[in-house]
Symmetry: T
Subunit: 146 residues, 12 copies
């Protein structure tokens, strides 16, 4: 079982900017945490970050044999309709994650064009959002959705 | 450490209606799962369901010595401003959960008046939403939000 | 065959306020008229009024073995999403009634959150709205909807 | 006592299209049912159908000595302001009927420009909507609106 | 010099309905007043009324050799885009008239789809609106618009 | 009988700017034309122009013994609610005039806050708008509004 | 003369939460202040608080022999249409009060569904809002509204 | 195989008005071109133009044995819901055509109430839009939609 | 302690217009009442009225040594952003008053651009609004806002 | 004569996803069909697909010596303003194509930011949309737009 | 070459209020800086400040022989349509300046009714906005806009 | 001191397209002018252009040791939320520039998602916008913002 973990624009700067909003951990540290948890769960993880929407779309197309997707679309959450179509086309269970509670920030961050094509959302828990997403996605993939 | 688990209107009918949307488990079964997990985590859980917004507000006021809140506001998600004010007044870490992916349902379910006063949201994973909420809330309460 | 007749907030004041809008009959008189007609039609009626949305939801849950519903949601028509979910969950033919022509009153009364989950609407005919609703609901229940 | 029954655009195709939405009865069959009920009630009915808004307006003007109106405006419900003005000018009790529950269909069908000038609405009960409209209109005309 | 005077839906009922809003004169009386003034001004007038938008469009097409247009579109003011296109195609100076002050009536009467293709508007002066329109239109046609 | 003629901001520049839109005549020339016509009609005219909304309000208050008002509010048409209140308080028949067809210009010029408190509007006929307004206002004041 | 003082959801927590917004006094202290002032004014006060809209509606119905109402609807200000209908039905002079200046807070707090059925509003002065409301309501009840 | 070609209001004026927008060909010339192409494709064409929405609806009802429809709704594109319902009822493959690129014209021309019930749209290519529509419609009818 | 009392456009006409809405007292009478109450409270009052927004702004700038402000902005309530900025710059406790309940009047009167920079609002109580505003403002200035 | 054929994000997945919506043909098969038709028409075609908006813009800039453009913008249709500017800058006849009838899908797909800078649109005919676009574009380029 | 520098309402209070937003320099100091720079550039400057829109309009009319305009409209930016018309009538190159970045402040400050009639905007740089405006305006006036 | 100068999509075509809107200078010429001015000011400039949002984001991340930013986002101004987040993360003084006055162009160009995270804006002055931006940015960086 292989899970994709996709990070959108600017997330490579985690731990280096606005720690009050995004926390202190770098993306590498988060990927390491996710990998360790994946090992415990007996699944494989392929992580990818890009600032370009086209590259994110391409990564999903190139990895459409994976079993599930965890995606933090960054600012593309609000206008990335190409990414949305790619996720819909990927057609595997997808969990949308956000580090911060987007509903407590600027108005434009309250709308997600990704959410309707995801299985569910986890937002507001910093790096823990990713770990919870992995736990639940593996659980769904293994057990179905009773 | 004591966690409140609050279920809003109609959630007492879980397992008895629209299983394609809400799953097969009853509320009692979900509460039992949450309690078992709480035992594993070494925390206490107090669960409450009501169809009346006033009762939900009252429950929060009567239990303001608890340490955290997991709330599935049901339809109050979209208009329950009194519940929102009660959660803001409760002023402990709060996780908003939804069984279904509300963003893939009717338009009016895309707006949450609760979200801005919560720490984060978990939605779309059926009964697993509650368990993930408990895990993450206890983790936040124990470890802070680095 | 048993039909529920549910009256929302403030309808217990019928006959006592604004007769130009709501007519001269009290709720008890309307219930009596409905009961008499039910007797003629050979069906049983259970009537209920509450000013609290939670109680209305509870009544529907407690009587989900009934065969149909006539509901005058009062002001909940315009924001009572919990009541809406309860009616959807009830899942029996439902007729929404209004005493006055809500479309000839304030703008906010033109929107019904209940209508999409009802079989149909009858509005504007005073107490006659209830009798017409009973006639038609029994007719539908007996004959199906050809 | 004479009642007008006016059917708007496309209603002459009833029974020939989309029976799942509009039922199996033709317009002629519905008119026959209405006439039979009118006979029982001791009133006269004049029915008219047209696809052209101008003809519908003209029919109302030519029959302004009638005592009441039952109108199913079809798609004109949503934009037929000329028909609306004609009904307002007609100035007799008017019942707006719809075969289907328009509130459970496309968004644009949720708005009626006719409703504010009608006495009331009956929608969602197929051909029964017409019969209920006739019953209630005759009742109102005979007894006033207490 | 020939001027068209076009009256939209329901205007044939003038003097017979709502005199508080529309005045006491019939359409025939207004046409007579317009004709008399036209005689004084030395111009010819062709008047036409229809309840059907298609007929109004056809009249304009059949008379495109006229020199100017006075149009009271009635309720088509607010949605008659076919009439608008016909007036734009007619391409002669056009004066839009209304008997009542539409801006002091229902909200939906505040928007005119005809206004952008007219030379100007005169509204609120009852039958005098037509006479003023004729005076000014003839003046413009004779003298240009300095 | 005395009629006020009130010109709003920038109208003192008529004849000096954008002649394609506003025509070639200066405000003095228009006032002279209006005065001459007033003489023919046997009424007195008091004209006033100001760029300041407060001064326009004051002029109306100081002349509340006049019998009618012709007002070209200029850009205040779209936001001058103080002028609107002053006209409503003046409470004599008021004609709103515009030189150009405001509905064929920028979107923001399509809304008038003055229109609901006027008797009627005349717009689009250049300086002729004023003369037509005077004619019709005197006619209404002399003859009432049959 | 008897005045009702009605406090909506969460107001029983006054003095215990967010003192920067709501002040330091408890609801009991405010009620005591209101009672003392009532004594000075020679009127009787009946105070009531509930978190449930239905209970608030019921209280108004049960006390419709009172002479006036002071109501702080809390969050129901923005969606409590049932409460609005109950106040309209109560039909005695009603003063809407708010502790904080709702217009300087979140956008959703700028709209009041209660305001159109009240005599007036007093907001932004903490507990003083209640005392001013009592003074003015008694003054109005005694002296009429010259 | 028989194809209907329906032209809406004002299209009978083609070649006579605004050639910069609509081109130089008359409707008769376009119909001739369509007929010639139909001959080459071995299909029959029945063309119809009317300025009245009711007549267009009637034509579709009278020809419901045809195999496909090419419709240029003219201004009805934006409000002709009766025509929309007639096309939906017709229930054969329908191609919506426009001579001009409606998206490069006035804002109100950007919305089509017809589009959702058509198979597809071709707009912006003048008379060529009709020929392309015929080609593609016959192709679809013959070959299905692989 | 010195309090400014600022009356906006048209308020100098109080007692002379629409007494059903604004009451019978003139502005001079209201100012006298305010002055008498100020004497009782031991504070000084400086009153000012102008129809011009610029003058109102200037008055506030020239009196920025005052201790508080009572302002009835009249129609400027809804668009007077310059006055708003002047009040924000004045930076002393400000009470916004209205004679009538603006929320029960035209839609455009429901929005106040002044409210967000005021301490609070009192509206709907006629001249009593001013006296209540003075009482409460002096109370706040003397006692702080506990 | 050389025509560009530009495919936007995700279109490289054609034939591999959602065949019910997008058909069974792969992009390579469509390109082959287009090339064959181009050969018949005696024109050259250069096809390009990218998931990145920047690359699509660059391709248009690098090929600005081509004579025309067929573009299926995919999801960029709805937000790709950079692509829009590039097409406007390209300044050759452009045909916008869509495989599916975008107006019968989600609301957000009803708006095209590309349409105003195209010559016309063809949508809803699957791969045939491309062939019709090629036919008509070559026809326009050869014959102008009479 | 003479340049007008126009300051709108409240700007005479610069340096005296909210220095965190508007900076520490008074308007006199800014005017002195602008004059010094003008001297260096060899142009003449005429500065004017008023709190009244009418006065600002009048100043522009009285100085229409000047060669360019720098205008900081203050709050009139958002509703001063009379000032807008005056600037459009002035018809010389105009630079709109703002001390603060209006897009980072309240929502209502994001819209400028002045911007469409200006050559360009400079905002957010405090007093430096004026100097940059002068530099660029003189440069444009001397060199044209290549 | 090092300043970044970032040009968004399509700006590499400057001088080659629509000179009436964008002027005659190429991007290379503008960069040369900026460099020369930078030399005079004693600062270093690093210029970058890309049509891809991801590349622009990457450039900012790779150069986060620079001291300031001048950015012309091109069409990304209106939807480039990823670029916005990158600028916010860059966290150095940023000047947004536009060659044309975007407020005098299409409606969609009136909104900037970049503006709220910039220090200020300069728009409408062609290539001079860049030079003014450089002057002012260096001045701010050297002198702070008094």
């Amino acid at each position: 079982m292989r899970i994709l973990v996709v990070h959108g624009p600017n997330l490579n700067m985690l731990g280096k900017r606005e720690p009050a909003v995004y926390g202190l951990k770098t993306l590498a540290e988060i990927d390491a945490l996710v990998n360790r948890r994946a090992g415990e769960l007996g699944v494989e993880v392929t992580a990818f970050q890009s600032n370009g929407e086209g590259d994110l779309v391409g990564f999903l197309q190139d990895n459409d044999d994976a079993d599930g997707l965890i995606v933090n679309p960054g600012a593309l959450t609000h206008y990335g309709l190409s990414l949305r179509d790619a996720i819909a086309s990927f057609a595997k269970p997808t969990v949308e994650v956000h580090l911060s509670n987007v509903y407590a920030r600027e108005e434009f961050r309250h709308t997600s064009v990704i959410a309707p094509v995801a299985l569910g959302q986890i937002s507001g828990f910093g790096w823990r959002s990713y770990l919870a997403a992995l736990d639940i996605l593996v659980d769904v993939l293994k057990g179905g959705r009773q």
